[in-house]
């Protein structure tokens, strides 16, 4: 227990901050994933073959290649790509991207591929009559989407999105290889300096279990909220 004390003597406060970091990366990645899903779901559902091809390649490649490999691509390739783009605009100094952004982006792209599939399934299972009725009443495209389609999509998608959230949360442990101090990295540091890996990695496992448990509770509440009226 001494090992977990807060302050200079223990690792309690460091691990607490690391847990907050894990939560922050997961949420950021999930949001980036939603943005990707928002772009790729319409492409996937569109009648245009070319758009279909782009969206399908995205989801197939990301879901078929290990997360770790994608993270390495971003970790080693991100800086180079950004400097290349910057050099086009005439900026030639060395740019270092922060580990948080690289990590959140890599995980976000992965979670986006899963979210795209979830949203595609949800949109497809909405009754065609709903679209037609909304059109017939004369609602604008904007209102159609936000007031008729989106609430129904969310209700159908929440159970599967909770799976995506769990995957995203667990994937953030892989960012530790890039040096971002989240739960896994902090446990690695603590295990190295105290020579007590069993304790710290088991504690990390407990922290992750706690996070998945609490988020499940929260998501269940959301699920109840969005299925009002059914």
């Amino acid at each position: 227990m001494e090992l977990l004390a807060f302050g200079k003597t223990g690792w309690g406060d460091e691990l607490f901050i690391a847990t907050l970091m894990t939560i922050a990366v997961s949420i950021t990645a999930m949001i980036i994933g939603f943005v990707f899903a928002l772009v790729f779901t319409p492409l996937k559902l569109s009648k245009n073959k070319f758009f279909n091809f782009i969206a399908n390649s995205y989801t197939t490649i990301i879901r078929g290649v290990p997360e770790l490999l994608v993270i390495y691509l971003f970790f080693f390739g991100g800086t180079g790509a950004l400097m290349y783009v910057a050099s086009i605009f005439g900026y030639n100094d060395y740019i270092e991207i922060n580990a948080f952004i690289t990590g959140a982006f890599a995980i976000g792209i992965i979670s986006g591929a899963y979210s795209t599939e979830v949203f595609r399934g949800a949109v497809q299972s909405i009754d065609k009559g709903q679209f037609e009725a909304a059109k017939v009443i004369g609602l604008s495209k904007f209102t159609q989407f936000f007031k008729i389609i989106l609430p129904q999509v969310l209700r159908l998608a929440i159970p599967n999105l909770s799976n995506v959230w769990q995957i995203t949360l667990k994937d953030t442990s892989l960012i530790s290889v890039t040096g971002l101090v989240e739960i896994m990295r902090q446990s690695y540091i603590a295990a190295g300096s105290t020579r007590d890996p069993l304790f710290f990695y088991s504690f990390a496992a407990v922290l992750y279990l706690l996070l998945t448990f609490l988020s499940m509770k929260l998501i269940n509440k959301l699920e109840v909220k969005y299925s009002r009226g059914y």
Binding site: L69, F76, G77, G80, S176, P197, L198, A205, L209
Partner: protein, 223 residues
């Protein structure tokens, strides 16, 4: 684009893919046995037994695979007692540690897949078996298991692909699997995109093959 590097790294990556496949197949076989065992325990009426099985699958599905590997590889070596037993011969090898972690992880997911497959078998089928006077053992092996296999094939196919991606974590405990070698080439040449394309294509090809094999079995066992 450095085409030459891509061509040169291809054979190295391909031989590393063999290690990935080896890790995958061994852990899948062990994981299937573990999964079947825990699925049966889960359906047991004894509350303690099925809570134990539920706890196992909850813990392994709720924590990242990376934590599990690190606990087994770095953590267990710390216990003095283990070092003196024959288990140490296994636990000091990163290869076996990775396989133990993968097998326990995929075992947890497999047990859930099989459990739900067993639960969806209609009671009428079992009753029909019973009324024909077939023994419980034969009902289990000849009726329940084949139906459960059929039911669980699509989900199990996904699990195989997830596990294949999971084996990339073996590179974190010094094993040179496909991802490990890819990382090594990237960090020596600083050409991440080229290496990613080659390694990624090999992974995609394996995913493609697994997907088609599963599809073939799904067709074969369909009714």
């Amino acid at each position: 684009m450095d085409i030459e590097l891509m061509i040169n790294s291809f054979p190295k990556l391909l031989s590393a893919a063999a290690i990935t496949l080896k890790l995958l197949s061994v852990s899948l076989i062990v994981g299937l046995i573990i999964g079947l065992l825990f699925a049966i325990l889960r359906l047991n009426k004894n509350t303690f037994v099925n809570k134990f099985s539920y706890g196992y699958s909850y813990v392994f599905r709720g924590t990242p695979l990376l934590v599990q590997i690190f606990i087994i590889y770095f953590g267990l070596g710390q216990i003095e007692y283990l070092r003196s037993t024959f288990l140490w011969v296994v636990l000091k090898e990163p290869y076996w540690c990775a396989i133990i972690a993968f097998a326990l992880n995929t075992g947890a997911y497999t047990s859930e897949i099989l459990r739900s497959a067993f639960q969806t078998i209609k009671p009428g089928i079992l009753e029909a078996g019973k009324s024909l006077g077939i023994s419980n053992k034969i009902i289990f092996y000849k009726i329940q298991i084949p139906i459960a296999i059929r039911q669980s094939l699509p989900a199990y196919g996904n699990e195989i692909i997830l596990m294949m991606k999971g084996t990339s974590l073996a590179s974190t405990v010094t094993l040179m699997d496909l991802t490990g070698v890819a990382k090594y080439i990237i960090s020596t040449t600083f050409k991440p995109i080229e290496v990613f394309i080659v390694a990624g294509s090999i992974y995609l090809f394996m995913t493609f093959c697994i997907h088609n094999v599963i599809k073939f079995f799904e067709k074969k066992y369909s009714f």
